[in-house]
């Protein structure tokens, strides 16, 4: 079925990103926006904007009934959920299936299968994809027994969690009972599901994920990997492709593991399989699958020349995969910096407000995905992502240099941003060398704090 009109159930840069592809494809866009976003750039650029509710996400962006009613009301053929909000909520996908609106994403059953982290772990095991030592635990006695087997440090993870939410690190086995009780209570409150499981904590691990596309009938291709190890409290800050320092064989094993996992699910649409890479042990473990388009998808687009949103739409139209695996030939290196309205000097506190001036970089190999222009408001109700600056070059040193130039050409006034912080990371010798693990950024921050203290007292 040809999709002629899409309701976009999201905001910010991803809403604009979807509008851009729709325009290229000649598809009409209707933006479902909260009252706080009626003045935003996506609201102005969509063919039509509907006000779906007040600013608070629970009264607007998170109301699946309102979203589907809006789609029916404007006779939209499909809903694009973007990322976050309702993108990975089974309820929206199911409601769409019931009402005959195309959900641009996986099936409700697939979202459910990967949303339950324990089930996703089991799916990984069944498809021959390695998982970190661990498993389900019903009670403290079982947890202690399993904990003794896998050893410390370990993680207690919420079955309903994901993306770093609902996790507790345990360094000593005797702390398992208290941590488990706390983790269970928190998970129950946050996800409505108090179940937890244990996993070995890999101390020097890298976060490497594989972008896949599936046609929903069992055919899956991968579009290479992204290294997202530069994280602060599980929030990714810089992403790049290819991942530095992986052997061709290791890389190939990683890619095929992701494909195997998605094939088993008969996965439909764009998705990402996340792995924890332990290079010291020459091993990788399945972390989770994200059943949506991801924030960092542009780095993959840069090196493969593929418009992932256009592929999502083609798959949703039932046109299947337009790419053969051998046609995916990533070229060069791409890197993305997430520019957030947050203040690194104040422990990265969000800094909402009005952007007085916004000057974004441009030029060869530079792409900026943003909804922020001079005069834009950053409401306090949503995440602080202002823009993604993406660069593409022949190799990593060239990409690094290009990113430094792009950041230097960026000027934001009116709100605090992490621009200067990004610039510092990019010139840090350890990051310049490449291949850092997820403990890098906390260490970098600590070094920076100490240096500042020395400067203040000396």
């Amino acid at each position: 079925m040809a999709i002629r009109r899409i309701l976009i159930a999201n905001r910010g840069e991803i809403a604009l990103r979807v509008i851009r592809t729709c325009r290229t494809l000649g598809i009409e866009t209707v933006l479902a926006a909260s009252k706080a976003d009626l003045d935003s750039l996506p609201a102005r650029l969509a063919d039509r904007t509907l006000c779906i509710g007040p600013a608070r996400p629970s009264d607007s962006y998170l109301r699946q009934d309102t979203i589907v009613q809006a789609a029916l009301g404007v006779k939209a053929d499909a809903i694009h959920p973007g990322y976050g909000f309702l993108s990975e909520r089974t309820v929206l996908a199911r409601l769409c299936e019931q009402e005959g609106v195309v959900f641009i994403g996986p099936t409700a059953a697939q979202i459910e299968a990967v949303g339950d982290k324990l089930r996703a772990r089991a799916e990984a095991e069944s498809s021959g994809v390695p998982t970190a030592p661990g498993g389900a635990v019903e009670n403290v006695r079982e947890a202690m027994a399993l904990g003794r087997r896998i050893g410390s440090p370990l993680l207690i993870k919420a079955v309903g969690g994901g993306g770093g939410r609902g996790m507790k690190r345990v360094d000593r086995l005797e702390d398992i009972p208290s941590s488990m009780e706390l983790a269970g209570a928190e998970a129950g409150a946050a996800f409505g599901d108090a179940r937890v499981y244990l996993e070995r904590f890999v101390e020097r691990g890298r976060h490497v994920e594989v972008q896949i596309l599936g046609d929903g009938n069992g055919r899956v291709v991968h579009l290479g990997e992204r290294d997202c190890s530069v994280q602060r409290r599980y929030q990714k800050l810089i992403e790049e492709t290819p991942a530095t320092g992986l052997s061709a064989d290791f890389r190939a094993r990683l890619h095929s593991a992701a494909v195997q996992f998605a094939e088993r699910l008969c996965y439909r649409s764009a998705g990402t399989v996340e792995f924890l890479v332990d290079l010291e042990r020459d091993a990788f473990y399945f972390l989770e699958m994200n059943a949506r388009i991801q924030v960092e998808h542009p780095v993959t687009e840069a090196v493969t020349g593929t418009d992932l949103v256009a592929e999502q739409i083609a798959i949703a139209e039932g046109r299947g995969l337009r790419l053969k695996q051998e046609e995916v030939r990533p070229e060069g290196c791409a890197m993305e910096c997430r520019i957030n309205a947050e203040d690194p000097a104040r422990d990265f506190q969000p800094s909402p407000g009005t952007v007085r001036t916004a000057v974004w970089p441009s030029g060869d190999g530079v792409r900026v995905d943003t909804h922020i222009v001079s005069g834009s408001r950053i409401p306090p109700y949503y995440d602080s992502l202002m823009a993604k600056i993406i660069v593409h070059a022949s190799d990593r040193p060239a990409a690094l240099k290009r990113m430094q130039g792009a950041l230097a050409a960026t000027r934001i006034e009116g709100v605090a941003t992490n621009l200067a912080f990004h610039a510092d990371v990019l010139t840090d010798p350890e990051f310049e060398t490449g291949g850092v693990d997820t403990s890098y950024l906390p260490r970098f921050l600590e070094r920076r704090r100490l240096a500042q203290e020395v400067r203040a007292h000396g």
Partner: protein
């Protein structure tokens, strides 16, 4: 390709000679809307590529409702996005008409959200002065449904 002033003049001449009153075309992100006899015949909107540089954003989408016919009217806005029904059931008389007296808790319409019916009350005592939304129309959150002349 890009549109030159000459191209636009040529397109305008063609429209002039045709039997149509308006024309809108889009070429490579350049939108051209022409209207016969309009005071602003050419409107050019350049679609920004992934917005780079500090460009002026286009028109806001905010203003929408037609202005009130008289001063001092109280507005009843929609509490939800949904389908607005003026009557309890198809074929039945509407909850209110222009001139109807309303109390604060008088129902003026129903908003359906996925088969869930939500009634909307006037919220003010007075007389219905304007009804702005047609029966079975999609209404947005905060859209003005009716205006009431407050009074005894």
């Amino acid at each position: 390709m890009t549109l030159t002033a000459k191209d636009v003049a040529e397109i305008m001449r063609l429209l002039e000679q045709s039997s149509f009153d308006s024309l809108s075309i889009e070429i490579d992100g350049v939108k051209l809307n022409l209207q016969r006899g309009s005071s602003a015949p050419v409107e050019r909107t350049v679609v920004p590529a992934p917005a780079t540089g500090s460009s002026r954003p286009p028109q806001s989408v905010l203003p929408k409702a037609k202005p009130p016919s008289e001063p001092g009217l109280s507005e009843v806005a929609s509490p939800l996005l949904g389908i607005f029904y003026r009557a309890p059931k198809p074929g039945e008389p509407p909850f209110v008409e222009v001139g109807s007296k309303v109390e604060q808790d008088t129902v003026i319409g129903i908003i359906e959200v996925m088969k869930l019916m939500n009634s909307v009350c006037a919220g003010v005592k007075g007389e219905v002065a304007e009804i702005l939304v047609e029966n079975a129309a999609l209404v947005e959150f905060d859209e003005i449904l009716v205006r009431v002349r407050p009074g005894a």
